[in-house]
């Protein structure tokens, strides 16, 4: 398994430190869709500064799992504690956690009726009650960071897929989140655009952001992640450091998956 595609840049690891502080703790979490048991007995602890890639075949529950972390999906059993706050039915807690946890979606989910700048300032203004001027300055700062400040006055429909995903990342960052969730951020993109999004994500990782990524970009996993989690049939089958995971997978299911995803 040596032909894992690699990123073509050196990664600055000076800021990438995993602290002992726990950012997310999931214990004995179960979830059903109707009678279908999607997530079975998930146990996962994420420390601050960790960069975790979650891989697995489609339908394995990896998206559902990270969507449980900001309550886009409701779990029925077990405990999820994010930043010291437990996710319950209390709407106040849910909104608080959501404003601390950024999320990027496969289909970007930008708001098409608002300009790029308005997309980025909306949540800070309404949720954080930041003055408009200040919110716009923050937004421009993050748009510069994802390298599209000149598109600020355009609408999402006028941007390419890669640009839209970078705006989505900037939009999340404007809330100054402590944790970022990525749900297949590059799956809907042309190959040429995948790189620009991954570069943005790498920069985030280099700054020490706690990240959970569901992705099929194994090059990204190998270079950036400090832990790779493999899921199948709603369970965590294997988790390990990327080198070990790719070079020396333990379970047969992982071996099969890796041979299929990297084989061609």
């Amino acid at each position: 398994m040596t032909n894992v595609p690699t990123m073509d840049r050196e990664i600055d690891r000076s800021q990438m430190q995993v602290s002992d502080e726990v950012a997310i703790e999931i214990s004995n979490m179960n979830k059903w869709y109707g009678t279908f048991h999607v997530l079975r007995d998930i146990n996962l602890t994420v420390n601050r500064g960790e960069r975790i890639v979650i891989a697995g075949p489609s339908g394995s529950g990896k998206s559902t799992m990270i969507r449980c972390i900001n309550r886009l999906e409701e779990h029925q059993q077990g405990k999820i504690i994010v930043d010291g706050t437990e996710l319950t039915n209390d709407l106040k807690n849910i909104d608080k956690i959501r404003s601390e946890v950024g999320m990027c979606f496969q289909h970007f989910n930008l708001f098409p009726h608002l300009t790029i700048l308005e997309n980025c300032t909306l949540a800070p203004i309404w949720v954080r009650k930041v003055p408009k001027k200040e919110a716009e300055e923050t937004a421009m700062h993050f748009l510069e960071k994802v390298k599209i400040p000149d598109q600020a006055m355009k609408y999402p429909g006028q941007l390419s897929g890669g640009q839209q995903q970078r705006v989505a990342i900037a939009r999340s960052l404007c809330m100054k989140p402590r944790i970022m969730l990525f749900d297949e951020p590059t799956s809907a993109l042309d190959p040429e655009m995948i790189k620009e999004v991954l570069d943005t994500m790498i920069e985030l990782a280099e700054e020490g952001m706690t990240m959970l990524c569901v992705t099929h970009e194994m090059g990204f996993a190998r270079q950036v992640a400090n832990r790779v989690i493999f899921m199948d049939q709603g369970q965590i089958v294997e988790q390990n450091e990327p080198e070990e995971f790719f070079n020396n997978p333990k379970s047969d299911r992982t071996k099969l998956f890796l041979s299929q995803i990297l084989g061609h």
Partner: protein, 437 residues
């Protein structure tokens, strides 16, 4: 580069070809006609046949329409004028000249016509900030909020205190809600505000108002509802129903999607009941049955009753149109809003509704147009809208037998209003276009 020799002959383009003008036969008027009217023999034949048909229709109708009978004083007089000119048939436009004021204002006192006219002109000012937000100062919205009270006062007249006390009721309700929500739950505060406003309108307000209007009798001559009629009546009912049905429709559409079972059941029940009943039945309920249920002696204005019924009717349809817009929104928009920590009402107001309403514009405007035209149904409960008036006009012996002229005139006026709404909706759709979704 052709495929045939691609393996054997290498080719690299070193100069790019410049752009060239398109052939003259495919652009301009000639190009337009070639593609749209004469593209192929079948379409050419169709074009010629259609033009012939249009010419025939105009040839038959125009002479009837253009008939010199504007000075006719009765149907017989019109026929004499036409016979004098040797025409067999022609429209009798004298009826419009003589009765157009009645068609506009019904039996409204003619020396007070300036009041509905002023109310109509102010209506244009009041809706300007809503319709053309880009060009009109948003401060004018204050006038739009005051307008309903002002218009009601202008139309019905009476003491100046009535509209002022009506406004004060809203102020009282709002103040109670505002300060109440700091102490108790917002939902309870809202209920308290509503109760306070109703209390004001029914008990406290009238108690102060009566001695006040006796002491300071400022006001204009009052006009009874039964004197209302014509397009004035249609516009009064239509505009009220249009303006009120949209917010009620939004609330119903959201209620129908609610997770709260009771809210959902109430909204679904209301929508399905209203949609399942013809408007005429509701109007009969308004005009006849409500009087039976209300305590004797209550003076509940007939126009107000009709307005409420038409509004509820329109709101039920509006709710379904908006639900269509909500259903067309990708789930990702809700998730995007949720993931940023926006609460339900923020997400609805800032993300969901602007997009859902934009998608529903054609349907919403169709409903508006439908409601406006449905106001003619009030002629059934003997109110004198333009259609009701056309019957009244025919009851005059001078105009007995005049049908086409009146209906063409009424139709033309309705068309102006409805066509304007339709054009405005197209303008709005273009304005809100923000690239492909």
């Amino acid at each position: 580069m052709s495929n045939t020799h691609s393996d054997t002959v290498a080719f690299v383009r070193d100069t790019m070809l410049p752009q060239q003008e398109p052939p003259s036969s495919s652009v301009g008027a000639v190009g337009w006609m070639r593609t749209n009217l004469f593209s192929g023999w079948f379409n050419t034949v169709l074009t010629i046949v259609s033009l012939g048909f249009i010419a025939f229709i105009l040839y038959e109708i125009l002479p009837w329409l253009i008939s010199p009978t504007w000075d006719g004083t009765s149907l017989t007089n019109c026929r004499e004028i036409l016979a004098g000119l040797g025409d067999e048939s022609g429209a009798c436009w004298g009826v419009i000249r003589e009765r157009w004021q009645q068609l506009m204002f019904g039996f409204y006192p003619s020396d007070l016509y300036w009041r509905p006219v002023l109310a109509f002109l102010l209506l244009l000012v009041a809706i300007a900030p809503l319709l053309f937000a880009d060009y009109v100062s948003p401060k004018l919205i204050w006038f739009s909020m005051l307008y309903p009270f002002l218009a009601a006062w202008l139309l019905w007249g009476g003491a100046i205190w009535a509209p002022i006390f009506a406004i004060l009721g809203f102020v009282v309700g709002f103040v109670v809600f505002r300060y109440g929500s700091k102490v108790i739950l917002p939902a309870l505060a809202l209920a308290a505000g509503v109760v306070a406003a109703i209390l004001w309108w029914t008990a406290i307000g009238p108690a102060i108002e009566a001695p006040l209007s006796a002491a300071i009798p400022i006001g204009i001559e009052s006009v009874q509802s039964r004197e209302f009629g014509g397009f004035m009546l249609s516009i009064t009912i239509g505009v009220t129903a249009i303006m009120c049905s949209l917010p009620i429709g939004i609330v119903l559409a959201l209620g129908r999607q609610s997770d709260l079972l009771l809210v959902k059941a109430i909204c679904v029940g209301f929508i399905e009941f209203i949609r399942g009943v013809p408007l005429i039945t509701l109007l009969f309920v308004a005009s006849v049955l409500l009087n039976i249920f209300l305590p004797p002696g209550t003076n509940f204005d007939i126009i107000l009753r009709v307005m409420i019924m038409v509004t509820l009717f329109a709101a039920a349809y509006m709710a379904e149109v908006i639900r269509g817009g909500l259903a067309a929104l990708p789930k990702g928009q809700y998730e995007g809003a949720d993931s940023l920590g926006l609460d339900y009402w923020q997400a609805q107001r800032l993300i969901i509704m602007p997009q859902a309403l934009k998608i529903s514009i054609p349907g919403i405007v169709s409903t508006f147009i439908g409601v406006f035209k449905d106001t003619t149904l009030v002629s059934i409960i003997s109110m004198f809208d333009p259609i009701g008036l056309s019957n009244a006009i025919r009851a005059d012996t001078a105009w007995n037998g005049v049908y086409w002229e009146l209906f063409i005139f009424i139709g033309a006026v309705f068309f102006v209003f409805c066509f304007s709404m339709s054009r405005y909706s197209m303008y709005l759709e273009r304005k809100l276009q923000t690239g492909h979704r």
